[in-house]
């Protein structure tokens, strides 16, 4: 295979979208089976309230997973998103509780501060790992600790509370039973889909995951593309932080422990390959739904906490096995 064939962006074509539709249909089918099973097993599962709950409950994971998709597509990983989310929440929490300003100014300030905090962490992750060609696994593991420590330091390990009412209202607002925060997450999916499929930048993200050297030889600044992917991931962690605050009306420096694993799981279940270059953000959306529906449904049918945890693990493993076969068939 020549390098030119490996570079979808260079030719401007989308690679085999039919195959990606089939892949996504597979995940969608799994989700559908799950939904059918739970609707039969629990009378409450398909109630309007429960659907609202599921949408609310997958929102944060979905937001994190959208950013994670960019990083995994370039063949990287970001283990820091849970900690970065907590750090951004603390920074935004400090901003929103500043004295002597109106509610609107405070909310705007806090949102900007939270998003900036997240993006800066992501920028550092990307810059350090790309500049020295270090595995992002270890750099973001470092950031996991740095961001967690910084959040605890700034907050003095205290929960920050009493936010403006308007902010809280945004977190619990529904439009026809659909949480506004979920619509925010959904619009992120749409934006990410557009970037990944309709822009040169997006195609090069896939290109880097497939064959980084080829992209470099074609004269593209691979370093900056990688930094951008990690910055986007940090930015989504900042957005998740704002959603967390709006929903719960507190900022906790110990929020988000282990969230990175759920976000990675959503991306992988959604069919994005851990080795990069293959996958889609629509798959990530479905992956987040699978995790959320599973968590919700297993409680409704009354399974114990420990069995629930085991089943979630099994689903992740099965998803990766399926991914193995997907990779095999798309290679032929």
């Amino acid at each position: 295979m020549s390098t030119a064939e490996n570079l979808p962006a260079a030719s401007g074509r989308r690679p085999l979208s039919i195959r990606s539709i089939i892949n996504n249909a597979g995940i969608g089918l799994a989700l559908l089976l799950m939904i059918i099973f739970f609707s039969v097993a629990s009378e409450h599962f398909l109630s309007a309230n429960n659907i609202t709950n599921i949408l609310t409950q997958i929102t944060i994971n979905l937001v994190l997973a959208v950013g994670m998709t960019f990083v995994i597509l370039i063949g990287g990983i970001d283990l820091s998103v849970g900690s970065v989310m907590a750090f951004a929440a603390v920074v935004a929490g400090k901003a929103i509780t500043l004295p002597g300003m109106g509610a609107t100014e405070l909310i705007i300030l806090a949102i900007l501060a939270g998003l900036m905090a997240g993006m800066i962490c992501g920028f550092i992750n990307g810059a350090v790992s790309a500049y020295w060609s270090l595995p992002s696994f270890i750099i973001t593991l470092g950031m996991l600790n740095i961001a967690r420590g910084a959040g605890l330091q700034i907050s003095g390990a205290q929960t920050i509370y009493s936010f403006p009412f308007a902010f809280e209202e945004f977190g619990s607002k529904l439009i026809f039973g659909v949480p506004v925060v979920f619509l925010v997450a959904l619009s992120l999916v749409v934006v990410a889909w557009f970037i990944l499929n309709r822009t040169v930048f997006g195609r090069l993200i896939y290109g880097i995951g497939n064959n980084e050297e080829a992209v470099r030889l074609a004269g593209h600044p691979v370093f900056w593309y990688k930094v951008a992917a990690f910055s986007i991931c940090g930015l989504t962690a900042g957005i998740a932080a704002i959603i967390y605050m709006a929903r719960l009306n507190i900022s906790s420096p110990i929020a988000g422990i282990g969230f990175e694993l759920n976000a990675i799981a959503a991306v992988i279940i959604g069919g994005t390959s851990l080795s990069g270059g293959r996958g889609s953000v629509i798959g990530t959306l479905l992956g987040a739904f699978i995790i959320g529906v599973l968590a919700n449904g297993l409680i409704l049918i009354g399974l114990s906490d420990f069995v629930r945890q085991m089943i979630t693990g099994v689903v992740i493993v099965v998803a990766v096995i399926l991914d193995h076969y997907r990779a095999k068939y798309s290679a032929t």
Binding site: N50, A157, T159
Partner: protein, 306 residues
């Protein structure tokens, strides 16, 4: 030969004199706590530091840990304190069994050991032949205070759920048992009992899902306030103002909620003073007082609106 003896004698002399010099200085207290990322222990540390400054007659060396389950670092801390030859070790064990053996070594090294916050396991103490008092709150009794407040507010036969702390953590178990005591005493109906790992967001999702499965819930017992906050937000989102919630710890963030009635009650175990009080007890023993015995209970108090 003579020379060697002389050197040995001189060395002994130096050792003795430095030994005396140390004895004349302030006693050193090693404080070993759990995760300082936990608000409760952070407040406790601040309380202890303020106390050390206020008393001024001892030196405080405090050690925390990275997270709740990292008890390896607590064992290392005990060993380091033995090496440093501190006068007393005041410890909140992260694991009630694993900490018994290292603390036994400290006691054998002549260090006064005070166990506070979480009691060491009785069986493990017996097995190691360790006699050690416990200074701390009655988590089970505290949870029962909160549970009773809920029982009184709801009346007999009311339907409740419990949101538990980390499975396997001693205080989580104690608090769950305390809630269950209230359930038995007020003849409440326990619909479900699950963990949310002490965390706000998880408790929020958990209660939303519990409400779907059991819309007739009347009361919620949360094993800490972080989870109680998540529960209150879930009820607000569901528009269920009829359901009452109790928590535990009385952290500052819930005080406004207790004020306006969104939270029925919480329990204050005066964490800020707990380490400081334990240090006081340790210093009394260091100064030649009698060894502590049994369970020295520290105060707990129900915090409620009216």
């Amino acid at each position: 030969m003579k020379l060697i003896k002389f050197v040995a004698a001189a060395a002994t002399g130096i050792l003795l004199s430095t030994g005396i010099a140390i004895a004349e200085e302030k006693p050193v207290v090693g404080l070993i706590m759990k995760s300082l990322a936990n608000e409760f222990f952070q407040n406790m540390l601040e309380g202890a530091e303020a106390h050390a400054e206020a008393r001024g007659d001892y030196e405080l060396r405090a050690v925390g840990m990275q997270n709740e389950t990292d008890f390896e670092s607590q064992i290392n801390a005990v060993e380091n304190f033995i090496t440093q030859g501190v006068d007393a070790i005041v410890v909140a064990p992260a694991d009630s069994k694993a900490m018994v053996r290292p603390l036994k070594r400290a006691m054998e090294a002549g260090i006064v050991v005070v166990n506070f916050d979480v009691a060491l396991d009785e069986g493990a103490k017996k097995q190691q032949g360790v006699e050690l008092a416990f200074v701390g709150p009655d988590n089970r009794g505290g949870a029962k205070l909160a549970g009773d407040a809920l029982g009184q507010a709801l009346g007999e036969g009311a339907k409740v759920v419990i949101i538990e702390g980390n499975p396997g953590a001693d205080n989580a178990t104690q608090r769950r048992m305390g809630f269950e005591d209230s359930v038995a005493e007020y003849k409440l109906e326990l619909l479900d009992s699950r963990t949310a790992h002490w965390e706000t967001e998880e408790a929020n999702q958990l209660l939303a899902n519990m409400l779907t499965a059991n819309p007739d819930i009347q009361g919620v017992m949360a094993a800490n306030d972080s989870m109680a906050i998540g529960a209150v937000k879930a009820l607000e989102a569901a528009g269920r103002t009829d359901i009452k919630v109790v928590g535990f710890d009385a952290i500052p963030a819930v005080l406004p909620m207790i004020e306006d009635g969104r939270l029925l009650a919480s329990v204050d175990q005066f964490g800020k003073e707990m380490a400081a009080n334990s240090i006081d007890l340790a210093l009394e023993v260091v100064a030649g007082g009698p060894a502590l015995e049994g369970w020295v209970k520290t105060p707990i108090e129900l915090v409620s609106g009216k």
